[in-house]
């Protein structure tokens, strides 16, 4: 049947009653308008009164008229028989899941922003309905151990080449210093255990100490394959230090399309103003579309922090970096996904794609282990020793051999001890198997096998496939 007005919610209705303050009068005002006296039941001194003209009372609208006046000691109330009042608050414990509409939240106002820490959510705690503050469930305080971040070595734990550098070289794995005429040192710094300035308990951070500055001096990271980060990206990190004379550093990205590829594209620069305390910086960049670009081998997306191009001052400055991350999409400091901290082993395994240091006594472990083995080999002729090393991780490209030379730096363990000063990459090398050789000092018996190893704490032989 149809209703005029609000449809009563049957489970939550009751009849309205009105209690009167009596006095010596025959006329009272009702709380609700009625059609006639039959719409109410009037009780005086616990006796039900007879409605109707010529009877105990009549009523119309909000006017109640008694046939005889009451006194101040009488008790009088009425019940509105034709007036069902819908209650606002259901009885306690009376609403079950069946009564809830499936679209109960549809149409409610959307928050439109991250909830405040004290905003509350409804949860079922082992079947008991409870409320919980957003501060307990928001993700920003979580640490994702062993997750795989986009960046490699963003926590600066892997330093295969050593821990201090004064030239334009790769320093921490994947991070290269660019002096641009300046005098500077990049070094590994250790966090105090339990510090809370930078979250997630990183062990190390990178420090670039510039003693004689120059424009464009800085440090960069190159993300392999320009096609794998496109559109809007967010770069975030913790930093502190002192600024160049101009008052700030710059951060800028560059899309390099590789050998034979399209012309590189740089974004506009953004400023970094350091203070003496750690703070998080979050930058949004909109990368150029790669549609129609030609991409060659060795393409990358570069992220560079540097002294501004227009600031040629030579004043010293220092940059400390920690927890460096890049994310696809646009984020603020409030919405940024949590930093993903890899284990050292996983981090190192990813770094090996770009650098392997089979012979290097002065790496970040500091063990000065000089007898590291490059691999096994054979004298293909009496004066030619060729050594092979199956690579534990496939490298980005066929690597270069980066080594040094010195008297008896390398040792060939064979029938007789054989010492050589230096090594050269062999043309048969590839990204899965490295070959090196010596043809000017090796002295053995053709066909005889031997193992090649370092024999001096200063000797090194690296396989380098960095960008």
């Amino acid at each position: 049947m149809g209703y005029v007005g609000n449809k009563p919610a049957l489970n939550y209705t009751s009849f309205a009653a009105q209690h009167f303050t009596t006095s010596a009068t025959t006329t009272y005002t009702l709380d609700h308008a009625v059609t006639n006296e039959n719409d109410i039941r009037l009780v005086i001194n616990n006796v039900v009164q007879q409605p109707g003209s010529g009877k105990a009372y009549i009523a119309s609208g909000t006017t109640l008229t008694l046939s005889a006046a009451t006194s101040g000691t009488d008790t009088m109330y009425c019940v509105f028989l034709g007036k069902a009042v819908q209650t606002v608050v259901p009885a306690q414990g009376s609403v079950g899941s069946d009564e809830l509409s499936a679209d109960a939240i549809t149409g409610q106002s959307a928050l439109g922003a991250e909830p405040a820490d004290t905003d509350e959510f409804i949860i079922s705690d082992s079947g008991v309905l409870k409320r919980v503050d957003y501060s307990y469930i928001k993700p920003t305080s979580q640490v994702y151990r062993d997750a795989q971040p986009i960046m490699i070595n963003g926590n600066y734990e892997v330093w295969q080449r050593g821990t201090s550098f004064t030239t334009s070289v790769y320093t921490a794995d994947r991070w290269k210093q660019d002096l641009s005429g300046a005098t500077a040192t990049v070094s590994r710094q250790t966090f105090t255990i339990g510090q809370s300035d930078v979250p997630n308990n990183p062990k190390y951070h990178l420090r670039q100490t510039v003693s004689t500055a120059n424009n464009n001096c800085g440090i960069f990271y190159r993300h392999e394959d320009v096609t794998t980060l496109t559109g809007n990206i967010t770069i975030a990190f913790y930093a502190k230090g002192t600024n160049p004379n101009g008052g700030n550093l710059n951060i800028i990205t560059k899309q390099s399309f590789g050998s034979g590829g399209s012309t590189a594209v740089e974004t506009s620069t953004q400023n970094i103003t350091l203070t003496g305390s750690w703070q998080q910086f979050v930058f949004n960049f909109s990368l150029a579309s790669i549609s129609g670009k030609t991409v060659g081998a060795g393409s990358y997306l570069q992220m560079l922090i540097k002294q501004p191009d227009g600031d040629s001052s030579t004043n010293a400055w220092t940059l400390d970096l920690a927890n460096f991350q890049v994310e696809e999409g646009t984020y603020t400091s409030a919405t940024l996904p949590p930093f993903q901290s890899e284990t050292f082993g996983n981090n190192l395994a990813r770094c090996l794609r770009y650098l392997q240091t089979p012979i290097y006594a002065n790496d970040h472990q500091g063990t000065s282990e000089e007898y590291a083995t490059f691999g096994l080999g054979v004298y293909t002729a009496s004066g030619y020793f060729r050594c092979v090393r199956p690579l534990p991780v496939e490298m980005r490209v066929n690597p270069s051999l980066v080594s040094n030379s010195g008297s008896n730096y390398f040792f060939i363990g064979s029938g007789a001890n054989d010492y050589v000063d230096d090594l050269t990459i062999h043309p048969d090398s590839n990204y899965k198997t490295a070959f090196v050789y010596n043809s000017d000092e090796a002295s053995g018996t053709a066909g005889q096998a031997g193992n090649l190893m370092g024999d001096n704490t200063n000797a090194y032989a690296w396989l380098d496939a960095e960008l």
Binding site: S400, T424, P427, D464
Partner: protein, 59 residues
């Protein structure tokens, strides 16, 4: 910045490897296969040659 590049002959007599020297630093011996496209050292050498420089003949 590249200072010099020089071919190295392999056991077959081919110029299959080069040694590149950066910033006059001869203490580091960097050797790389020729035509190793995508290798940063080889790509640097290609740019260096395109800029008008010449790879030295092997000894």
């Amino acid at each position: 910045m590249i200072t010099s590049v020089k071919y190295i002959k392999d056991e077959r007599g081919n110029d299959s490897v080069v040694r590149v020297i950066y910033n006059n630093d001869t203490s580091v011996k960097i050797t790389v296969q020729v035509n190793n496209v995508g290798n940063t050292d080889w790509d640097n050498i290609q740019q260096w040659v395109a800029d008008g420089n010449t790879i030295q003949e092997a000894d």
